[in-house]
Symmetry: C2
Amino acid sequence: MYNHADETYKCPICVGIGTIKEGRSLIEPGDIVFQDELVTAFISSFNIKNNPYHVVVVPNEHIENIYDMSDGTGARIQSIAREMAIALKNAYKAQGVTIIQNNEPYGDQHAFHYHMHVIPRYGGDELYQHIYDKPTASTDERAKAAASLKGYMGKRI
Amino acid sequence: MYNHADETYKCPICVGIGTIKEGRSLIEPGDIVFQDELVTAFISSFNIKNNPYHVVVVPNEHIENIYDMSDGTGARIQSIAREMAIALKNAYKAQGVTIIQNNEPYGDQHAFHYHMHVIPRYGGDELYQHIYDKPTASTDERAKAAASLKGYMGKRI
């Protein structure tokens, strides 16, 4: 419901996580931090100035927004977002974590596949002053960030 | 883990949702939109300028942040956030919904009990320019907003 992508939308997130085989995506295989049968977590292709290499958690099934989310998939999204938050604490030495999930164009949603941003926070980062800038992060640096987070998946400390 | 409240912290959210009986809270009974054995949703005591009467979803159990969230409670949080997003669409005629969940002081967390903001969005609302302003919303208006949302709980349209 309240979908904004039309029938011809080639979803760049579906392409990036491998559920659609042909099409364009900024997501590279090295960006993937975690994938199971329900959800995928990957390093964002876009950096926020002082909060680089944040994680995006998505359902594998193409759902445009939260309104259409099933409880089962939503539960897994939340659980993996938590794992990612802990990994950001450990791997990036983040001083906090902010989670943002946008729905619909007026809600700042630009890719029309549900996605939850899990953002490392640091003192004085002025997140909201730079949230719309989003320069592209380099493929190599994204892959390094993904590898560093993988090492902390499942850790509880 | 990574908790910032000390042993003497009188949690205003625990007081507001009724799990602690004595103490101070800005949350009033009329603010409550939904409560079950695991979670509570209520109208925020603070308005964001162009996004008034947003909803806050919390676990009833005192958990400071996402790092300590159980999968079961996290699942219910996500499910009720979705219900609230749909209710905001229906009751407020929101044009979008943004969900924000902050952890730790450097992550903009000020009340040390996990809470997820479910925020109605509108064209030109400039959410992030006003996100730190937060004037207090009137008790009567909050109660009206809560009542309007209750009427749409469980709706799927």
